[in-house]
């Protein structure tokens, strides 16, 4: 196969100026909100070891970009940000001052198998709150994420919240063993309600409980959750109490109308152990981001602490943002040899006032009308009349 000069590897994209500009805005707004909430930004390497981050990241093996370093070690292009940040937190500098709040805006890499146009490299922004087991930490990251969505004017944003540990406990209560729970989990992760209902028939669930079990993937409120919870089971009771407290905090922040509590919602990311959530917006057919509690991941790095966080996908945010924020192009000053100095001084003056000014030597422009059409305002110091 010959590669044409303009081709790029599968899934790689050029960001044209207007996208790059929008992304920069998005980054500024997003990271500002994170920092206001006390999160310090950090960056981690693009390359990591396959043995550590590659395996821990919960991204399927075939979606990893792998390469060898000069020592023959297998490396991966980082497929997510949560595991590298967990690594940083677990290693030297942060152990002493838990809880720690870290934020990021970074590109991650996931190889695509279908439709060459899907991005294999995309930016994510998010936070990780490490070393706090409380529900207040979970509430904090959910509210922070929705504050970012609000600031970016995402249309009709929605948050779906589930609870992996509570679901697990409830499935056990129905008398399912590990293998059966795994099957139910698979059906729920792949959002396959048909398979889920088929499973109900295959599992040995007491006949009077079948209807209750079937309703599992249809809950919308915490009130709905009550039908599955055994309040004499201390674990379930305590987790449910926490959910109620979380709901109060969320409601108090004006989010009550945009949250769905779906007990059957679980993430394909296997490292989430507690609360899980996902964000949606009207403009994009794909979720905008997700997050949750991942205490188990920290254990893999030898740290017995809780952690929670979220990540938002920048490419999907761009789709979901209302398009009214039209970027106005700046001012153009066209000059010729005689007016060069005048043009420079004029540009300096305007730039000092915060304007975007493009200086252009007029004879170098081939199609004057098309070129000037790109700008909001045009000053002609090339002898032509100002129009």
């Amino acid at each position: 196969m010959t590669i044409e000069m303009f081709e790029k590897p599968l899934g790689m994209r050029d960001d044209f100026p207007f996208i790059a500009k929008k992304k920069a805005e998005l980054r500024t707004k997003g990271t500002e909100i994170m920092q206001q909430a006390g999160y310090d930004l950090l960056q981690t390497p693009t390359l990591e070891y396959y043995e550590t981050i590659g395996k821990i990241s919960a991204i399927p093996d075939k979606a990893l970009f792998k390469l060898l370093d000069s020592q023959g070690e297998t490396l991966v292009l980082r497929p997510d940000m949560t595991s590298p940040i967990a690594r940083v937190a677990a290693s030297k500098l942060l152990k002493e001052k838990m809880p720690v709040r870290l934020g990021y805006y970074s590109n991650v890499f996931r190889a695509q198998k279908r439709e060459g146009g899907r991005p294999a490299e995309f930016e994510q922004m998010g936070v990780e709150l490490i070393g706090d087991n409380s529900l207040y930490a979970d509430a904090e990251v959910i509210i922070l994420a929705s504050a970012i969505l609000k600031e970016l004017e995402v249309e009709s944003g929605r948050i779906v919240i589930g609870h992996t540990q509570l679901l697990q406990s409830i499935l056990k209560e129905f008398g399912l063993d590990e293998r059966q729970i795994e099957k139910v989990r698979e059906a729920l992760v792949s959002k396959n309600s048909v398979r889920f209902e088929q499973l109900v028939g295959e599992l040995a669930i007491a006949s009077e409980k079948v209807e209750v079990f079937k309703a599992l993937n249809r809950s919308k409120t915490l009130e709905d959750w009550k039908q599955w919870i055994n309040f004499t089971n201390p674990e379930q009771n305590a987790l449910y109490e926490e959910m109620l407290k979380l709901e109060k905090i969320i409601d108090r922040n004006g989010l009550s109308d945009s949250v769905t509590y779906d007990l059957s919602f679980i993430s394909h990311m296997t490292y989430y152990t507690g609360l899980v959530f996902e964000f949606y917006g009207a403009g994009s057919g794909f979720p905008l981001g997700n997050g949750g509690r991942y205490d188990g991941l920290m254990n893999q790095f030898g740290l017995q602490v809780g952690a929670t966080g979220f990540g938002l996908r920048v490419d999907r945010l761009l789709e979901a943002i209302s398009p009214n924020q039209e970027n106005s192009a700046g001012t153009l000053i066209l000059f010729v040899e005689e007016t060069e100095q005048e043009a420079h001084e004029e540009a300096q003056k305007l730039r000092a006032q915060g304007e975007h000014v493009t200086l252009q030597y007029a004879p170098a422009v081939q199609a004057i009308d098309e070129f000037t059409g790109l700008f909001k305002e045009v000053r002609r110091l090339d002898g032509a009349l100002n129009g």
């Binding site: 792949s190 249809r218 919308k220 949606y280 994009s284 794909f286």
Partner: protein, 208 residues
Amino acid sequence: MDELTIAMPKGRIFEEAYELLVNAGYDLPKEIDDSRKLIVEAPNEKIRFILAKPMDVPVYVEHGVADVGIAGKDVMLELDRSVHELLDLGISQCYIATAGLPNTEMNPVTPRIATKYPRIASRFYRGMGEQVEIIELNGSIELAPMIGLADRIVDIVSTGKTLKENGLVEYEKIVDITSRLIANPVSYRLKQDRIQELVEKLRKQAMG
């Protein structure tokens, strides 16, 4: 925001699916000429239909340009798109099977399999530990064994009539197929009430 977009497969499944919706109580235009039109409005129900090739329905739904869709399980298995599979509609029943000329053995070295469903075929033979060469065709699959292109075909069987007419016999049944109601994961959350209502109405029809 209120409008629901439904991707429907053109052809045979369309009639059955449309009837199902009408029987479920949806006030839809009586006659729909599905041969040319690509978009059909049902203003009384605030529903818009997109008429698509069956294989394309999950694609529209995955990308969210259709909120829900009706797709054969064969297409779902072949494409493996990330969509919600909400309900087994029980219509357009058939199954996928292997077939070939009667009383023939597969080539012992590398048998060749002709199919419209390369993924399903490949998964089936791999599961049996057979090494096969998959030949992807777009139609008239029955031709392949007759002219010596393939040892076996993997295809949809509904009545078995097509196989018989071409002198082929069925060998192994792979999986049962019915049509499914599918939904885009984001639409499912943003229009949950409307979609859930659709599911419940169709569930009653599918069971009855």
